[in-house]
Symmetry: C2
DNA sequence: GTCTATACCGAGATAGAC
DNA sequence: GTCTATCTCGGTATAGAC
């Protein structure tokens, strides 16, 4: 083995992941198209691909064991978590595209390259998937907050940059997902409590973000910890609203009055005063 | 007959409507509760009530005919339209409560006091109901626009009054319905065009409303026709966003940061500058 | 126009082989 | 853990009596 060869363990791991992704993509295609023509061929293909994928995954694990890193347990955990993460990712896409009630657990599982049985091994029910998804997404927002707006310079807001960012955000399925979390909470009292808490914490972070930006704009000081004023909180609430509704209204209508540029102007105005 | 007796035709008409409403309400209750205990009793009760309601309606028509108003045709039309209107009203409630995909046509028909068969005599499909509903609601908004905010005085905005109004609006199912129209349009390309147009026209009116308010505040002149500036349009978009999201976020979380008072402050700020 | 009955399908969820 | 097969229920939509 030459010294320039990469770690075989890592190589196989990467190949495993690549094949798993390809399998998922193909399963998705099969689910939506091929089966309508020749179901048995599609199924056989998907099955053999899945088998290959699992085989490679096992090989990867064995290599990991032989390598004696002693962290086989961690690897196994990683693989389990990866399936779960894949399912949640798929759920995010499918639910954003079809709404919670419109999405079926079969759709979600297939989008991830698995079957319903696999999904039910990880989640108790469909609503359990939704809650896990909300925890993950609104939890992520806590570390890298959704209100991470670009184009905020020392002397105001660069409306051009902000507008470009909004134009991209418009295509992001996460926007529809946010709305879905909101309406789901309003319609399912049993989940309302937890979702409310997640929304509140997410909002708090947005408010702090606003407070920070305003401090910089007003006094040129960059503070780490800040206590948002009532005005900052109001502003954050308005920005979140604009982000969610104005953006989507613009996408639906295509009207210049609701374009990303319009959204950027509003946000700039809100942050200015 | 004493001269103080009301028009018998009108009396019977009113009674008919009252009974129809009572029938619908009872059918609703039966659908949700009674059937779980003694299904056959509930069904029989609903059936006989429906019969009575129709019978009274026919009587009303006969009286109308005998009265020789010559507008029997109109009366009939009115009755047909009333069923349709009842179905749409029910659809609004059910879809707001359960989302479009979550609402079943059976639920909608029962909420109106009818059966699925009746609904399908008026609408071709579930999506047809949704589109008709959107036309009606977003069309109504054109005459008495949704952005009919109270508390707008000559020298600013009465935040107290506005907050009280927002607190009431929070419980209004129409808010969730508005969001449903938006997401439905985004998710169903075939309906997107029409929904987009309705949203645009609704927005135009909101913008004019904003322009009018601002003219009064700035110059004390009340103009009938106005041409909204870009700033007015931006403001309208922001207010609509806040109305839809901030209000519902407040309802979900119960946080004082997203209270009706907070929403009122934001709207006041948007209209002020 | 309205109701009852039913065709037909796809949903969520479970059981058991591997 | 994952898949296949299956259960059960409820969905949309239609047919036909009244």
């Amino acid at each position: 083995m030459s010294r320039h060869e990469p770690d075989p363990q890592e190589t196989i791991g990467a190949a495993t992941r690549a094949l798993a992704d390809a399998t998922a993509a193909l399963t998705r295609m099969i689910g939506s198209h091929v089966n309508q023509v020749v179901p048995e061929v599609g199924e056989a293909l998907a099955a053999s691909l899945r088998e290959a994928s699992r085989g490679l995954a096992d090989a990867s694990e064995n290599v990991a064991k032989r390598a004696g890193t002693g962290r086989a347990e961690e690897r196994r955990r990683e693989r389990v978590d990866r399936t779960r993460a894949d399912l949640l990712d798929a759920a995010a896409r499918v639910i954003a595209a079809q709404s919670y009630e419109g999405a079926s657990v079969g759709d979600i599982a297939a989008e991830a390259g698995y079957t319903k049985g696999a999904l039910y091994a990880h989640f108790r029910s469909k609503s359990d998937v939704m809650l896990a998804l909300a925890r993950e997404r609104l939890g992520i927002a806590l570390e890298s907050p959704e209100l991470d707006l670009p184009g905020l310079t020392d002397d105001g807001v660069d409306v051009e940059v902000l507008a470009a960012w909004l134009a991209a955000a418009r295509e992001d399925p996460r926007l529809l997902l946010q709305l879905e979390f909101l309406t789901y909470g309003l319609r399912h009292p049993d989940a309302a409590g937890e979702l409310a808490e997640l929304h509140v914490r997410s909002f708090e972070l947005a408010a702090e973000q606003v407070a920070r930006v305003r401090l910089v704009q007003a006094h040129g000081v960059a503070a780490g910890d800040v206590v948002p004023t009532q005005d900052d909180r109001d502003t954050a609430l308005a920005i979140i609203s604009v982000l969610n509704v104005a953006t989507l209204e613009g996408k639906l209508t295509g009207s210049p009055d609701m374009s990303p540029a319009a959204g950027a102007r509003i946000i700039a105005r809100l942050l200015a005063d």
